[in-house]
C-alpha cells in the first residue's frame, strides 16, 4: 500500500472488516523449527499439545490468567492500537485480538465455557483458529499502548507472546523471529555477522572517525579488564542511521575517558526471545551477555540504543542470567547508554557545543519498548525525561509531537515485536500511519526536519517508511549521532 495523501491527527479509524485477514507472516521452515527444539511441523496430536502448552502458560504466568478473566469488554482499548488505527481491521482492536485467545481459554479452562460455550463467547479450538492466531498475533508489535488505557491494566503483549510460544510448540513459528534467534545461537548476532566481518567493519569505522575528527577514536573489540562492556544491536554495525549513533557513542565514551569494549560473544543487544514468547530462548540470548562480561572482566554492562533489548535487560536480566555480583555494584546493573551520557553531562565530564546541531530541527519519538516496557535512571518517568534532557543539551531546536503521541502514549513505529519483515509491509505501512500523522503536525507547525529515535527497529522502520510519506530516508536520526556531533573532543 502507498501512504494516504492526506494525514490528520488525531485519527478517527474507519472499520474495515477482515482488512488484515490475509496479512500473514512467513512460517519458519521445518528444519529451522527443529534446530530450535520445536516440532518440525504440526503434529497429529496438535490439539492436545496446544491445550497442554496453553495450560502451562496459564500456570506459569499469573498475569496471563488474570488478563483472561478480568477483561470487562469495556472498549477503552479499541481505538488505541496503531494497526487498527491505520488499517481498520476490527480483529486488531486489542480486546478483539485478545478475544481470539480468550474464547479458546473460556472453552477449555472455565466451567461456564465447558458447559455453555454459546453463552460466554467460548469456541472450539480448530486449525482455522490456529491460523487466525498466527496471523493476528503477528500483527501485534508487543508495544503495550493499549495497556495504558485499560482500566484494569490488561497487557495484550502478554497474550500474544504466550500465543506465539504456543504456536511454536506445534511447529508454527514465525520465520523472521526464529531465523534471527537461530543466527544468534549459531553466529552470535541477529545479522549473522561473523567475528572477522565485525573486526573488518569496526576497523573501517575507526578510519572514518579519524578522517572526520582528526583524532584516533577506538572501537575496541574483546578488550579485557576495561570498565564498560557496550552491547549494541548488531544493526548498529550494519545499517544507517544506526551506525551514526554507534559512532556517537564511541565519541562520547572517548571524550569521557572511560575505558570500554564491544564483545564478539555478545555482539547483539537485541533479544528476540521476547518476540517469540520463549523464556528459554530469552535466557540463552541473555546468557551470552553475562558470559562475555565475565570473560572480559568488565565492571559495567551498558546497553546501546535498542528498545526491546532494554525492555528485556531492564526487567529480566538478573532473573535470566544473574547473579551479577562480579560487576561494580555502584552502578545500575544493567545500565543504558543514555544513563551514562546524562551522568557525563550533569557532572560536566563531557562538554557539549549544541550549535553543532543547528542544522537540525528535531522531535523525539519515544520508542515504545523503552517508554512502556522499561525505565531509565532512578526517577519515575526517567525513560521520558532523560532522553529529552540529553536532546535539549545537544540541540537548540527541539519540539514535542502532539499530546497523545508521546511519552507513555507514544505510538510504535509499526515494526516492533518481530514485525520488521517485508511480507508484512502492508501491516507495517498502516501501523506507521499514527506516528507519521503526529509527525506531520510538528513538521508543519514548527518546521521540524528530523525525528530522533533510540531503537534500531524504529530507525530501520522510519528510514524505509518516511519516503512513502514524502520525507527523505535520512530524516530519522540516532540520538547519539546528535550527542556525537555536539561533544567536544579536543580537550
Amino acid at each position: 500500500m502507498s501512504a494516504p495523501e492526506k494525514l490528520s491527527y488525531p485519527i478517527i479509524p474507519i472499520i474495515r472488516e477482515d482488512a488484515a485477514v490475509s496479512e500473514r507472516s512467513y512460517q519458519a521452515k521445518p528444519e529451522l523449527m527443529q534446530s530450535l527444539g520445536y516440532p518440525a511441523e504440526l503434529p497429529a496430536d496438535w490439539k492436545a499439545k496446544v491445550l497442554a502448552c496453553m495450560k502451562q502458560q496459564l500456570s506459569s504466568s499469573r498475569a496471563l490468567r488474570v488478563f483472561m478473566d478480568s477483561c470487562v469488554q469495556c472498549g477503552a482499548c479499541t481505538d488505541k492500537c496503531h494497526y487498527f488505527l491505520g488499517g481498520g481491521d476490527p480483529n486488531n482492536m486489542p480486546v478483539a485480538r485478545q478475544n481470539l485467545f480468550r474464547s479458546v481459554y473460556r472453552r477449555y479452562f472455565t466451567l461456564a465455557g465447558r458447559w455453555f460455550p454459546w453463552l460466554v463467547g467460548a469456541r472450539d479450538l480448530t486449525k482455522e483458529v490456529l491460523d487466525e492466531w498466527f496471523n493476528y498475533f503477528h500483527q501485534c508489535s508487543e508495544c503495550r499502548r493499549c495497556s495504558v488505557y485499560c482500566p484494569v491494566g490488561i497487557d495484550t503483549s502478554e497474550v500474544t507472546m504466550a500465543g506465539r510460544e504456543i504456536l511454536s510448540s506445534v511447529g508454527m513459528g514465525q520465520k523472521n523471529t526464529q531465523n534471527v534467534i537461530n543466527k544468534v545461537n549459531t553466529i552470535g548476532n541477529n545479522l549473522g555477522m561473523p567475528t572477522a566481518a565485525l573486526k573488518d567493519t569496526l576497523a573501517g569505522l575507526e578510519e572514518d572517525l579519524l578522517e572526520e575528527t582528526g583524532i584516533p577514536i577506538a572501537l575496541p573489540l574483546d578488550q579485557q579488564g576495561v570498565e564498560i562492556l557496550l552491547v549494541v544491536p548488531s544493526a548498529d554495525f550494519f545499517a544507517e542511521p544506526h551506525v551514526d549513533g554507534l559512532l556517537g557513542c564511541a565519541k562520547v565514551l572517548h571524550a569521557s575517558g572511560l575505558s570500554w569494549t564491544f564483545s564478539s560473544v555478545a555482539s547483539e543487544a537485541a533479544n528476540f526471545g521476547l518476540f517469540s514468547g520463549s523464556h528459554e530462548q530469552m535466557k540463552n540470548i541473555a546468557g551470552r551477555i553475562r558470559d562475555a562480561a565475565q570473560q572480559l572482566q568488565v565492571k559495567r554492562i551498558v546497553f546501546g540504543e535498542c528498545g526491546h533489548a532494554w525492555r528485556v535487560a531492564y526487567n529480566y536480566l538478573h532473573k535470566l542470567a544473574g547473579p551479577f555480583d562480579f560487576l561494580d555494584q555502584d552502578y545500575p546493573i544493567p545500565q543504558h547508554i543514555l544513563e551514562v551520557t546524562v551522568d557525563l553531562i550533569r557532572t560536566k565530564k563531557i562538554i557539549l557545543d549544541k550549535s553543532k546541531n543547528d542544522e537540525y530541527v528535531v522531535t523525539y519519538h519515544d520508542s515504545c519498548n523503552v517508554a512502556r516496557g522499561a525505565g531509565l535512571g532512578s526517577e519515575v518517568g526517567g525513560q521520558f525525561e532523560i532522553p529529552r534532557e540529553v536532546l535539549r543539551a545537544v540541540s537548540n531546536h527541539f519540539h514535542e509531537m502532539p499530546q497523545g503521541s508521546t511519552h507513555e502514549e507514544t505510538f510504535c513505529c509499526g515494526a516492533g515485536g518481530g514485525l520488521l519483515t517485508d511480507e508484512l509491509m502492508e501491516t507495517r505501512t498502516q501501523g506507521a500511519l499514527p506516528r507519521m500523522s503526529a509527525l506531520q503536525q510538528v513538521v508543519q507547525n514548527n518546521g521540524v526536519t528530523h525525528m530522533v529515535a533510540i531503537c534500531a527497529i524504529c530507525k530501520s522502520r522510519f528510514s524505509r517508511i518516511m519516503p512513502e510519506y514524502g520525507y527523505e530516508m535520512d530524516q530519522v536520526l540516532s540520538m547519539h549521532q546528535l550527542v556525537g556531533n555536539a561533544v567536544v573532543l579536543d580537550r
Binding site: K183, N190, G192, A196, T201, A239, A270, A456, M473
Partner: protein, 109 residues
C-alpha cells in the same frame, strides 16, 4: 522458484536463492528484469563487490563498508547511500543482495 534458460533454481518466499552456488550472471539479469531493471556496469560493480565480500566474510558488507568501497572505486560523490538507492530502489542491502545471490540480511535492518 526461479526459471532461467530452462533451468529451475530453488528460492525462498522472497526470491532469494536457496543455494549461493547456483548463482550466475544470467540469474542476476533475470531477477533484475523481473523488477524492470536493466543491469548496467554500475550495477555490476556493486554486485561483484557484494559477492567478493561475502566470499571472504560470509555476510554482506555493512552499508558503510559498501559505500566506502564504492567511493574509493568510483569517486567520493558516489560513495553514499543515495547513489546505491538510485541503482537499487529497494535498498542495496536487500535488493542488491538478492541479485548477487546472497541471503537476505536479517535482524533489525
Amino acid at each position: 522458484m526461479l526459471e532461467v534458460n530452462g533451468r529451475v533454481y530453488p528460492t525462498d518466499e522472497e526470491g532469494y536463492l536457496e543455494n549461493i552456488s547456483d548463482w550466475s550472471e544470467a540469474i542476476a539479469e533475470a531477477m533484475a528484469a523481473a523488477d524492470d531493471i536493466k543491469l548496467s556496469e554500475a550495477h555490476w560493480d556493486i554486485l561483484r563487490f557484494l559477492r567478493e565480500y561475502y566470499h571472504e566474510y560470509e555476510i554482506a558488507p555493512a552499508v558503510r563498508v559498501l559505500t566506502k568501497a564504492v567511493g574509493r572505486r568510483l569517486g567520493k560523490d558516489k560513495g553514499n547511500s543515495k547513489y546505491l538507492y538510485n541503482l537499487f530502489p529497494d535498498g542495496p542491502g536487500k535488493q542488491a543482495c538478492r541479485y548477487a545471490g546472497l541471503p537476505k540480511p536479517t535482524g533489525c535492518v
